[in-house]
Amino acid sequence: MKTKLRTVLVFAKINTLRFFRDPLALFFTIAFPILFLFVSGGLFGNNSNVSFKVAIINQSNSQFAQQFVDNAKSNNVFKIDNTVTTLDAANDKMVHSQLDAAIVLPQDFGQKQAGKNYPSGQAKVYYTQNNQQAGTALGAILDAQFKQINSKFVQTDMPFTVSTEQVNQHALTSLDYTFSGLLGFSILGLGIFGPINLFPELKKQGVLRRLSTTPLRVWQFFLSNVITQAIVGLFGMAVTFGFAIAVFHLHVIGNFLEIGVYLAFGIILILGIGLALGGWAKNERQVAPLANLVTFPMMFLSGTFFPRFLMPDWLQSITNYLPLTPVIDGVRLMITEGKHLVDLGPQLGIMAIWVIVIYAIAFRVFRWE
């Protein structure tokens, strides 16, 4: 038994070395996730405050209006598009979703009405049908701001008020949430597309057939692949974690060791699918359609890039049981909520069942040529 395991380790060691000599494999395992990180980090990175892209069209020349504009520019609720100066231009941009809304301060905005000793006016918020949410939210924000201003000019009693307080200590950014999806995507790429490209190629050349003339057993071959992929995968994901933390301020609450163990289990699970497909296939053409059939549902429905909470309930309850879903959910719970392995019983349970099913199939359908 000791000799048999040594065989596995020799194969794993040399195949790991081989992996790091392959620029293409390195690109897909390490550079590709980081590229994705930059794309998604760039998209979601700065939105810890909701910000609306608005145009302010100031038709008034009152001092109050000018102050209001300056004030709006300096707070981070609005991103003001300075290039828009007319309502027509704003309309054009809103139609193309380049602008959420336009705030128009009419000519009389901020002027003192006859008989009053304070300024007054009505700002108008314009928005299009596809920006209804932004429009109403903006209306509410401006309303609250004006109430504050009003109270400075006119004393009023406010018997009822609302105060809000944030209770979640660790504010989740979108990146914190999507990062586990990115890791899931990496595991999918490495675990499935690795073997389905490599094995048929090795079969075509007769490399695996040659191995089948030796006493090497299928389980030794599989296990050496699992070890190689786990080393390579964890290395790639450690680099991705490093970038996410250093550049995009990812908050990781959970324990890295536990996350590593969990991810390794995820790699073993998904790699089983790759071993089954690649081990079964005689050539690349045979395996491609089947691989897509297996991979696409997980790519789109397991919560890699599209949040599962946006799906209808029936779809969520089905996709709960896809192999990749518990991998991503578990990692997310560890990263964002600091859950431990012992808290992830349901996820680990689904994964364990899949591991048994998938590897049973992989051993059954494997062929050396």
Binding site: T3, K4, R6, T7, V10, F11, I14, L17, R18, R21, D22, L202, Q205, G206, V207, R209, R210, L211, S212, T213, T214, P215, L216
Partner: protein, 253 residues
């Protein structure tokens, strides 16, 4: 001369779909000889070898190798045979010394890699990748890989196909050296002069049957005894001799 039989093939059969490609052949290979299987393409040579090598299920008959029934205990057979496939290929981006280490590990062995590379004149390539080798180098390396566990029987399937004359002669010397180490060699070829020079005995196969089996000398003698005369007059040398004389016997690769 009584030599022990190391391989005994009895009534061996194989069919693909409805076509019988090996039709109940029987032969024995003596310990320490180079045994050649000759025949045109499609004669069933490779299929026969693959059944003895445990790579293909046996449809009928038995094969006993070193006292082990191939069909009953294929895993024990794998430990005592070395196999050189028709077109040896190795995984890319892996150094020769690493590949040898892997092959040894597959048999649960640890070896001195350099010794094995020295046997096939490839020490200076220890750190090269297999895909950078020439055809002759690859055949030689493949032989080293097949011998890491010191097998009792070594199978070669058309080892010299596609090699230039120097590389071929070099390979012949290597195969003889392996036989001299006490390893039984079973090889297929369709180069008849190769069989004549190298093999102690040859079996000639055609259409799934063995149609002749003896030493090359006896086979020729039997033919002459039947009154055969070659139409062409025999040259003292042939074009290959000229080529080797002009370009030298030294290996270039």
């Amino acid at each position: 001369m009584t030599q022990q039989n190391i391989v005994v093939v009895d009534q061996l059969r194989k069919s693909y779909d409805d076509k019988e490609v090996v039709k109940g052949i029987s032969f024995s290979v003596k310990k320490g000889e180079i045994f050649g299987i000759l025949g045109p393409n499609g004669a069933g040579k490779t299929t026969t070898l693959e059944m003895i090598e445990t790579l293909r299920p046996i449809d009928g008959g038995t094969v006993t190798l070193d006292g082990i029934d191939v069909a009953k205990d294929p895993w024990a057979i794998k430990r005592v045979i070395g196999v050189q496939p028709q077109t040896p290929a190795f995984q890319d981006k892996t150094r020769l010394k690493e590949l040898l280490e892997m092959f040894a590990a597959a048999y649960g062995e640890k070896i001195s890699v350099n010794e094995f590379l020295a046997d096939v004149d490839l020490v200076d390539k220890a750190n090269s990748y297999a895909e950078t080798l020439s055809g002759g180098q690859r055949q030689r390396f493949s032989i080293a890989a097949a011998l890491v566990h010191n097998p009792k029987v070594f199978f070669l399937d058309e080892p010299t196909t596609g090699l230039d004359p120097q590389a071929r002669r070099h390979l012949w010397e290597l195969i003889q050296a392996i036989r001299d180490r006490g390893i039984t060699v079973i090889m297929t070829t369709h180069y008849l002069e190769e069989a004549e020079m190298l093999c102690d005995r040859v079996a000639i196969m055609d259409a799934g049957q063995i149609i002749a089996l003896d030493t090359p000398k006896n086979l020729i003698k039997q033919l002459l005894d039947r009154g055969f005369t070659k139409k062409q007059h025999v040259e003292q040398a042939n074009l290959e001799d000229v080529f080797i004389d002009l370009t030298g016997k030294g290996l270039r690769d």
